[in-house]
């Protein structure tokens, strides 16, 4: 589905990605983890073409994404911070995105699922962070694309909404979709992810299932395994 070849990116002097090689197959849930500033969002944004890498290639479905935009038709993206034009109403925003993408969508069920009906005629500026994130989730999941990218999807969600989000992710996975998630909530990652990609200092430091990670680090607990990954002495 996605191939990253020797991806390099720096912002000013700050080298964020230094030669990321990564290949992600069809189907399954992949979690991209790493400490703050390890380049998770940059990685995702270069897949989306929002960040232009200095060197290396991004291939989605075998095609180079440089100077292309049609491939985004097949990606649903949930941005990290739900920032929307504040003077639009929720209903208008949904209609606008539908109009821009021209694809069949299923927003009614999702609006119902997250109980957003009372907010449909409110302006986005007036919504709370959690509600805005719910709108964000609705906008992402209302289309039926083979690749879903979620950047910190859990931010601000209450427990009930979080359970529904997990349900949604499982449902999409069963349809055979590829889902890419970044998150700092390890409990959430452990529950949903099939495979872990650990980024450190702009490189893929570890890749494999949670079991492999635990075996490698000799830890029983996922949280400790992640922590042990970054401190080499714990490996010995």
């Amino acid at each position: 589905m996605i191939q990253l070849e020797k991806l390099h990116k720096k912002f000013g002097r700050n080298q964020v990605l230094s030669g990321v090689d990564l290949s992600i197959g069809d189907g399954g849930i992949y979690a991209v983890l790493g400490p703050n500033g390890s380049g998770k969002t940059t990685l995702i944004k270069s897949i989306l073409g929002m960040v232009v890498p200095h060197a290396g290639n991004v291939l989605v479905s075998g095609k180079n994404v440089r100077n292309d935009w049609r491939y985004r038709q097949n990606i649903d993206y949930l941005p990290q911070i739900a920032s929307f034009p504040g003077n639009l109403k929720v209903r208008e925003l949904i209609r606008m995105i539908k109009d821009l993408r021209q694809k069949p969508s299923d927003e009614d069920n999702l609006v119902q699922l997250f109980a957003l009906e009372p907010f449909l005629d409110k302006k986005l500026r007036t919504l709370s962070g959690g509600t805005r994130q719910k709108v964000n989730v609705v906008l992402t999941f209302m289309f039926d694309s083979p690749l879903i990218i979620l950047d910190e999807p859990t931010t601000g969600l209450d427990p009930a909404a979080l359970i529904r989000l997990k349900g949604l992710i499982q449902r999409e996975k069963e349809k055979g979709k590829t889902i890419l998630i970044t998150s700092h909530i390890l409990q959430f990652v452990e529950e949903v992810a099939d495979e872990i990609v650990y980024l450190l200092e702009g490189k893929v430091y570890f890749r494999g299932s949670i079991e492999q990670l635990k075996n490698k680090t000799g830890q029983i607990d996922f949280e400790h395994a992640i922590a042990a990954l970054t401190t080499p002495t714990a490996n010995a």
């Binding site: 935009w69 985004r72 109009d99 821009l100």
Partner: protein, 260 residues
């Protein structure tokens, strides 16, 4: 691109500022006609206002809109849309709504006054056309500045400076060089210097069309010989067009390489 244009335009038309801008021109048109009681005189006064104000509004509005719609832009970037069409759509949305406010705001009072029955209609159309050009040019320049500067304050600063330079400082330098080099033949120099500033170019164009070039003295005669002819008009409109196309082209080229 047309869809983005539609949404930007719609967004702006609903905003308070478009109305304020529209009502301002409406009021200006009525007041000038009331005070002057003559179409041609009103047009001359109007020109002085337009030449300075339109670039200022275009610059400020362009920068403001660009920074304010950052969220909208980021949302659009993740959608299957071409980058250049996102930015060009927004640009034409802003420039289009400003031009509409200008044309309607001034058009209505002049029409009510009986513009169509008078022979001032060509002068008035020329005024509106140059006003539209100035809007397009300065909005495009403002978008360029905003795109190149992440920092809002810096962006605003550069934009205001650009306006100040074009509207005031350039003229000062121009006049000063005319005085310093008055012993040399300056026809070509002054013609070229005028071409390099869209505000000066518009002003000269309108003044000469209005047949008040006598006010300009000797230089006026040279200008008249150039701008008064058919070729002169074509050349100046082409230069204005170039002033529009170049920043728009740079905008779309720059947008392709930017990170978000």
């Amino acid at each position: 691109m047309l869809k983005i244009l539609k949404y930007s335009f719609y967004d702006l038309i609903r905003s308070r500022w478009s109305y304020v801008y529209f009502l301002f021109y409406l009021a200006l048109g009525f007041v000038l006609l009331f005070l002057n009681n003559d179409l041609s005189k009103a047009i001359i006064t109007l020109m002085n206002v337009i030449i300075v104000l339109v670039p200022l509004i275009g610059t400020i509005f362009g920068v403001m809109y660009f920074y304010n719609s950052k969220e909208f832009t980021e949302l659009l970037l993740a959608q299957p849309l071409k980058r250049s069409s996102i930015f060009l759509g927004q640009y034409f949305g802003v420039a289009g709504s400003l031009t509409l406010s200008l044309v309607l705001g001034l058009g209505i009072p002049f029409m009510l006054y009986g513009l169509f029955k008078s022979d001032a209609i060509w002068n008035f159309s020329l005024l509106l056309v140059t006003g539209a050009f100035l809007t397009l040019i300065f909005t495009a320049l403002a978008f360029n500045i905003a795109l190149s500067n992440e920092n809002k304050i810096k962006g605003f600063g550069y934009a205001v400076l650009l306006w100040l330079f074009m509207a005031v400082i350039y003229d000062g330098l121009f006049l000063m060089s005319l005085i310093v080099f008055e012993e040399y033949p300056l026809d070509t120099f002054s013609l070229t210097a005028t071409m390099f500033n869209p505000i000066d170019l518009s002003r000269t164009l309108i003044l000469l069309k209005l047949d008040i070039s006598a006010l300009l003295g000797y230089t006026g005669a040279i200008f008249k010989r150039f701008f008064g002819t058919h070729t002169g008009l074509v050349v100046s409109v082409s230069v204005l067009l170039l002033w529009t196309v170049l920043p728009v082209w740079r905008l779309s080229a720059k947008a392709k390489r930017k990170d978000f």
